[in-house]
Subunit: 108 residues, 2 copies
DNA sequence: TTATATTATCGTAATATTGCAATATATAAA
DNA sequence: TTTATATATTGCAATATTACGATAATATAA
């Protein structure tokens, strides 16, 4: 990110930015969409589903996890990842609030 | 972004990722929030409002504009920026759709 | 025209991201 | 215990982001 001055911004602003940043890559959007498309939360299949190597997928999963967008639980020798809906709620309600407030404005 | 393979993903996935990426910095969230807080769309005030230098603000505004999140129109010798609500609608409805589909799922 | 004000661009240093091969770790099965 | 399977970590090269000083570009005012 270069030298970012996160300390100059509010916790809320940093939280939203962190979640948005994690969403800011097509591979991670694709991972979320795949996680949504399967009823049971399979993990290794993501590697077969996307055109990226296993270490790269693992790295993207880590970033999604750090942002709180997904959860992982051990299932035998595999790991089952799934979407954390409360995190999705957070960012959704943020933009819903913003969009609803915008309707009352007149702009240039 | 490093060597990103955007060509391997769908237009929709790239579009959402591009918008999310633009939102993925606290300064840009702060800019959007400031643009919302003022009834009339002032521009130069953003520089006074945030703890960043003018070229840095200008760069962030450019990224928000490229992602379609804000619009700019010439107003005398100043430039008036304001939020593009249709772009906000796009990302909001994407997450609303995702969140509503999630409620029907059982997870690990 | 000249001066002032406002925003954009250039150049550059510091740091972050992306992707993958190689390797490590951990659990399950044989 | 050995082997196979699944995921994470390390190390590295290529590229992108962030921030800002200096400067350019543009429009208004004097």
């Amino acid at each position: 990110m270069g030298i970012s001055k996160t300390e100059h911004f509010s916790d809320s602003q940093n939280e939203i930015a962190t979640i948005a940043k994690a969403l800011g890559h097509p591979a991670r959007i694709a991972i979320l969409e795949y996680l949504m498309s399967v009823d049971s939360c399979i993990c290794g299949d993501i590697v077969n589903e996307l055109p990226l190597a296993q270490p790269t997928i693992s790295q993207h999963l880590k970033e999604l996890k750090n942002a709180g967008l997904i959860k992982g639980s051990i299932e035998g020798n595999a790991i089952c990842y799934c979407i954390n809906d409360s995190c999705l709620e957070t960012i959704m309600s943020y933009f819903m609030n913003m969009a609803s407030r915008l309707k009352k404005k007149t702009c240039c």
